[in-house]
Amino acid sequence: MASQSSSLRRPVAFRGVGRSILLTLPIALWSLLMFTPSFQRSGLDLRIASAVTIVFMTTLFFLMMRTGETYRWRRIFFVAVGFLFPFGFIASLIAERGSMSIPVSRMVSGDTPFCFMVTPSLILPAAFARTIIFPGSILPTASNPRSIAAMIGIWFAMTLVLGKAWCSYACFFGGIEEGFASFAKRPRLHKLVVRYSHILRLVPWAILVFVVLVSAAIFEPVYCMWLCPFKAVTEFPAVRNVETAIQMGIFVALFVGLVVVLPYLTKKRTQCGFFCPFGAFQSIFNKINLFEIRFNREKCVDCTLCQTSCPTVALSKESIAEGKTLLNCMKCGACVDVCKKDAAVWHLKGTPVAVKPERARLLFLYGAWAMATMFGGSILANSVATMMHWLPWK
């Protein structure tokens, strides 16, 4: 968000270069460790892309340490993942099957790559009928390495570390709308969003309940088949009749509306904040995560700058008065960075509020950035390698 970036509270260096380098060292080593397998594999493109990703992720972390800001640098990573993921993914689909659409033949042979967004819909059928209502394969196969077991395993392990911060450090879809939200200089529908935010933030919960119950009733992943905006930029069921044509129309309309137009007009992540059932599901894990944002009421002047800057309306006047965020806070750091009074602080549950907030921020960021490097970093490296493969002189 351009207006937020310009009003960030720390224009000068927050930490010295030496100390910042020292604090960045663990992440630099982690990045090297994560991409060592890429260097051992053949393919110059992937090696170069991995090297670029290591430098990119390490530099952003260094800047977080040096400036004391989180949101601005995280956003660069996140938007890069959001915009590059579809490139890499679509390229792999076209190379593999010549099209973005997934034909029925691939569904019946279990070749649909699993996406974490469908996870909540799987719980009831898996619990009561031991059935997975997704046309993928449980174990990885040669034609489908993105198996259900592997993707659920990585999602759950990362969720233990990130909680709802998954939505701002790991989700490869959220970056697309965060990118479109950052293009506009100022929000045009801000008053509307603020006025109805108490209703809007309940919509993802309603959609979550709806998709979980209906999916369990009809044994179909309803969100995937009918409501996912990101099908428009990844893969979708091949259009073969009126029903699949309507599905495709819904995907495109939701993508254009919720991921492109509304984020641009509101400067909010409208799909994440007002629609995404997986985001609502992920909010539950904020309860078991130790890191959060709190407000030091002694310093807070109720300027509501934090509320305005929050990309998913995870703050209300009441919550700020209580010194807390709402359950759907995804720990992006926008409110902390924008607060001119240092009232918004990173916090480790169980410790006194506003005592050593930077320590809490560091502890959170090490875990979050490690996950971001491992998951988002590999997406970046693969996408960059794919783009390099298309270079005209190759």
Binding site: M34, R97, P103, V104, S105, R106, M107, V108, S109, G110, D111, P125, A126, R130, T131, I132, I133, F134, P135, G136, S137, I138, L139, S143, A149, A150, I152, G153, I154, A157, M158, L160, V161, A217, I218, F219, E220, A238, R240, N241, N289, L290, F291, N296, R297, E298, L348, K349, G350, T351, P352, V353, A354, A360, L363, Y366, G367, A370, M371, M374
Partner: protein, 198 residues
């Protein structure tokens, strides 16, 4: 005494101290207790934060695979509407085989019709034109005649015909991939045919 002073100083600096109005009528034992409680909570919090970091480090090396194994060995299966269900029997033909699956009966609100999946494999050993009478229910008499041409191009869209030889099955003319219960498609090195059951 030094501990008490430290405790007093800590509680005074604690934001909740003023709010709770402890000053003036709380004795030093309560202050010490509060100090100890806060200290224990902090120790637990930092231990938890350390564990979270440990989990983060373990994710790519141990945890990811462990959680994947839990899912893989949880006794779950893919919904038969997608997978075709379980194999009933295999019929050997000259140069290829026909795998007949058990009838898939959708659940109460499931939209798919009941169907039987029949797989011809390996696809690259099939003759250019296949026309086979297949016994689906295992009573020794053919139930359907399945006919299709195998295109030389493995990615070409397929069409086929199913003629029901008894009233228990639905005939299909020039079917391709209409729905999960009506199809003749190529999936890898297999030709998958699904015939609706009445």
């Amino acid at each position: 005494m030094e501990v008490m002073e430290e405790a007093t100083e800590f509680v005074l600096s604690h934001p909740s101290a003023e709010k709770s109005g402890w000053m003036g009528h709380t004795d030093l034992w309560e202050v010490k207790e509060e100090h100890m409680r806060a200290r224990i909570l902090s120790i637990l919090a930092y231990t938890g934060a350390g564990l979270t970091l440990l989990i983060a480090v373990c994710v790519p090396f141990v945890l990811f695979q462990s959680f994947s194994n839990v899912v893989a060995h949880a006794g779950l299966h893919i919904d038969p509407t997608y997978s075709g269900g379980t194999i009933a029997r295999t019929i050997q033909r000259d140069g290829y085989r026909i795998v007949v699956y058990q009838t898939v009966k959708p659940r109460l609100l499931e939209r798919a019709e009941p169907f039987v999946q029949i797989v011809f494999e390996p696809a690259d050993s099939l003759p250019a034109r296949v026309s086979d009478e297949v016994d689906l229910d295992g009573d020794g008499r053919p139930d359907v005649r399945i006919s299709f041409s195998v295109p030389a191009d493995a990615t070409a869209k397929m069409h086929g015909d199913v003629t029901a030889l008894n009233g228990g099955y639905v005939s299909l003319a020039n079917v391709a991939d209409e729905s999960f219960s009506r199809m003749v498609v190529r999936a890898g090195n297999q030709i998958v045919v699904r015939v609706p059951v009445k």
